[in-house]
């Protein structure tokens, strides 16, 4: 319990948090979530595609998670490993750097998106390449690497099927695992025919035919590419091993065939020990694609003479992660292993899709991660993009309590607003008034009696439009009509006799 003495709190002399810089990458929305969501909700095709896809993946995940007898123990282990990693993150990164370097790899440190983009661009230029092949990587999407490479005259080819669909359609990813989840097969077929250049005009919308078209389109690129760019699902500090989990084999192509391999990895992806992979390689595939194991997982440790890339680079990316780390509650968002299970169960995501979140990290985890990377003010509407139903927490393979983080970030947002303005907000005044009313039984009873006047505003048990300043509440939802009787009145009428007995 703190005692408020009426004195201004002393300013803590902490350095300014280093948020992801503005103007680069894809972490900030151009529109507030409610506005973007409204547009998405009116797109019936999008809602059909999303409803079908998320229902499918939910059922698959539930089936393969259900067959693991120690699933809860694995979740607890995953959570504990991640928490222990964050508590000693600097030490593990130094250990990782030493291990990668000892095996002939080169480690680069990037404070933010701009620095990471510059490092990668320089490395590609040093390799003498004007084309690169890419494995699906959220980190490189976060920092806008493809745009930076294009500005330097380097063409980046996305090779994951969904990323290819997004890139060819000049679109944005809308899901962590399945970036083109908002597209159905017919839309994908049309994009391929129009944009691929070498697609058969008679191409059907059979998923197998579409996959075959992608195989033929990218084959030549794979066999001739000299630089590959990847992200990393895990990096083992004690061994220097990097790990990429995928399905199609495009990842294997990108990390095996080119002479130079550049991996861009958020610093939170490091795991302490080799044996930790035994936990995460069970948690990730079952939570992500709903498979017992994904088709392909590649692991490499520095350079292997005679096998694979002989020039191997690792770029360690901050870009707001240390700012998230500085919040003892919020840092749990850094535990995320990007499985996307929380997206698939979220009633909000299922209806709005990923674009409405405006960040490369959509859905519940995005709503707690993006505002921490950018600073809450720059993604202020995201912590409110949730009904707090808790489904995301239940499926999270590393037990991130996303609803608690959402509430925590909402509180931070309110605090920031309060300290930023001299006049209290309507919400703050309402809350102060409510606190005064509720502190006294007589005032509370009087207020309850008065609330019955609200019955005049509604019909059939609900109020669809309240007058300002309460109109903001009813813009997106109905308010219940106050009951004819308060609970206390009802109790008194029901218990007259027993009250008398008690006396």
């Amino acid at each position: 319990m703190r005692t408020f003495l009426g004195l201004p709190a002393p300013r803590r002399s902490l350095p300014e948090p280093a948020y992801a810089p503005r103007g680069v990458g894809h972490l900030r929305a151009s529109q507030e979530f409610p506005v973007a969501a409204r547009r998405a909700l009116s797109d019936t095709q999008l809602r059909r595609n999303l409803g079908k896809a998320t229902a499918t993946i939910r059922a698959k995940r539930a089936a393969v998670v259900g067959e693991v007898p120690d699933w809860e123990e694995l979740r607890s282990a995953g959570q504990a490993i991640k928490a222990a990693t964050m508590a000693n993150l600097g030490g593990y990164l130094e250990q990782l750097e030493a291990a990668v370097t000892a095996r002939g790899g080169t480690v680069h440190w990037a404070r933010d998106a701009i620095e990471a983009n510059n490092i990668v661009t320089r490395l590609v230029q040093a390799a003498g390449a004007t084309e690169v092949v890419k494995v699906k990587s959220l980190a490189t999407d976060e920092i806008g690497l493809n745009d930076a490479l294009a500005a330097a005259g380097i063409a980046a080819y996305e090779t994951d099927l969904a990323e290819l669909i997004v890139q060819l359609g000049r679109d944005r990813p809308s899901h962590i695992l399945v970036p083109a989840i908002h597209r159905n097969r017919t839309e994908i077929r049309d994009i391929f025919v129009a944009e691929m250049g070498d697609a058969d005009p008679g191409l059907t919308d059979d998923p197998a035919a579409l996959a075959e078209a992608a195989r033929r389109h990218l084959r030549r690129k794979f066999l001739s590419a000299t630089v590959g760019i990847s992200g990393a699902n895990f990096a083992v500090a004690e061994t220097g091993t990097l790990c990429v989990v995928e399905s199609e084999g495009n990842g294997r192509m990108c990390v095996t065939l080119p002479r130079t391999l550049i991996t861009v990895m958020g610093i939170e992806k490091v795991i302490p020990r080799w044996s930790d992979l035994g936990v995460f390689l069970q948690l990730l595939p079952r939570s992500s694609t709903g498979e017992r194991m994904n088709p392909y997982t590649s692991m490499w440790t520095g350079v292997t003479p005679g096998d694979g890339p002989q020039s191997v680079h690792l770029v360690l990316l901050d870009n707001g992660r240390t700012a998230a780390l500085a919040d003892p509650v919020g840092r749990a968002a850094l535990h995320c292993i990007r499985c996307s299970a929380c997206l698939n169960v979220c009633p909000v995501y299922e209806r709005t899709g990923g674009h409405a979140y405006g960040s490369v990290y959509p859905g519940p985890i995005g709503a707690v991660l993006s505002p921490q990377l950018t600073g809450v003010e720059d993604n202020a509407s995201l912590p409110y993009a949730s009904s707090l139903c808790g489904a995301c927490y239940q499926v999270c393979p590393v037990k991130i309590d996303i609803p608690a983080l959402l509430v925590h970030l909402r509180a931070r947002h309110v605090e920031l607003q309060r300290s930023a303005r001299r006049v209290p907000s309507a919400e703050a005044i309402t809350m102060a008034a409510a606190s005064w009313v509720m502190a006294d039984p007589v005032r509370f009873a009087a207020a309850q009696a008065a609330s019955r006047s609200g019955r005049l505003l509604g019909s059939r048990g609900k109020i669809s439009a309240l007058p300002p300043p309460l109109a903001a509440w009813t813009r997106a939802r109905d308010a219940p009509v106050p009951p004819a009787q308060t609970f206390r009145q009802w109790w008194r009428s029901e218990h007259r006799d027993s009250d008398r007995d008690a006396q």
């Binding site: 504990a80 993150l89 990164l93 399945v178 996959a211 992608a214 069970q282 017992r292 392909y296």
Partner: protein
């Protein structure tokens, strides 16, 4: 201040002073005790499987088949016949093999060993298939793991050809993922394979066959 120094300073400021150089776990890979839960974790997940013998092999075969791999059982005596039959069905005539495969191959097959100077990716693309052994197989997930040993070869040879025939010995099969991690060596380039190349990117419908080998055939050898 370099980016490295600044990031480490930010981390140090975020999680408290001194954390970057305290409680460093053993960096010696020789000390790795795989399979133990992480420090400070009370969690007790399974690190030792319960299955062995025929049950273990049946589980592996079933799980491989679930993910559309073709699976055959063989004994050391029938192994040559199974390999021959598989290659004949596939009509594979020109195959690439790792430097030291040591498997009986039928006469109708021309096997090219990937020895230095190694084959280019384009040359690999021209083969009908690849034959390798494996390092470990995980029954519960239907996974085979290659580690680049001389009987498995460079990663590229089991990637570029469209057909992969893999021979797995019973002694290489473990029940659980943590058991496989314990057996494997971090220093080697590892490829974990669970069925043929696949994608679920179109309406989350699984389609076998994108960039990796579109057909995976496994011969499981036990006495």
């Amino acid at each position: 201040m370099s980016a490295r120094e600044e990031m480490l300073a930010r981390i140090s400021a975020a999680v408290g002073p001194g954390s970057t150089d305290s409680a460093r776990p053993s960096p010696d890979p020789g000390q790795v005790s795989a399979g133990e839960p992480a420090a400070d974790s009370a969690a007790r997940y399974r690190t030792r499987g319960q299955l062995s013998g025929p049950e273990l092999l049946d589980l592996l075969a079933g799980r491989l088949t679930d993910y559309r791999a073709l699976v055959h059982r063989a004994t050391p005596v029938t192994l040559a016949d199974e390999i021959s039959a598989a290659l004949r069905r596939r009509q594979a005539r020109r195959v690439v093999v790792p430097p030291a495969l040591r498997l009986p191959l039928p006469e109708f097959v021309t096997a090219t060993a990937d020895t230095p100077p190694v084959l280019s990716a384009a040359e690999l693309d021209a083969f009908d298939g690849v034959i390798t052994r494996a390092a470990v197989a995980i029954a519960e997930t239907g996974t085979i793991v290659l580690d680049g040993s001389p009987d498995q070869g460079r990663r590229a040879i089991s990637l570029v050809p469209d057909y992969h025939l893999c021979v797995v010995e019973a002694r290489q099969v473990v029940h659980l993922v943590p058991e496989a991690v314990e057996r494997l060596s971090a220093g080697r380039p590892l490829t974990w394979i669970s069925g043929p190349s696949a994608t679920s990117d179109i309406e989350l419908e699984r389609v076998e066959g994108v960039h990796g080998p579109r057909t995976l055939e496994v011969v499981l050898v036990s006495a």
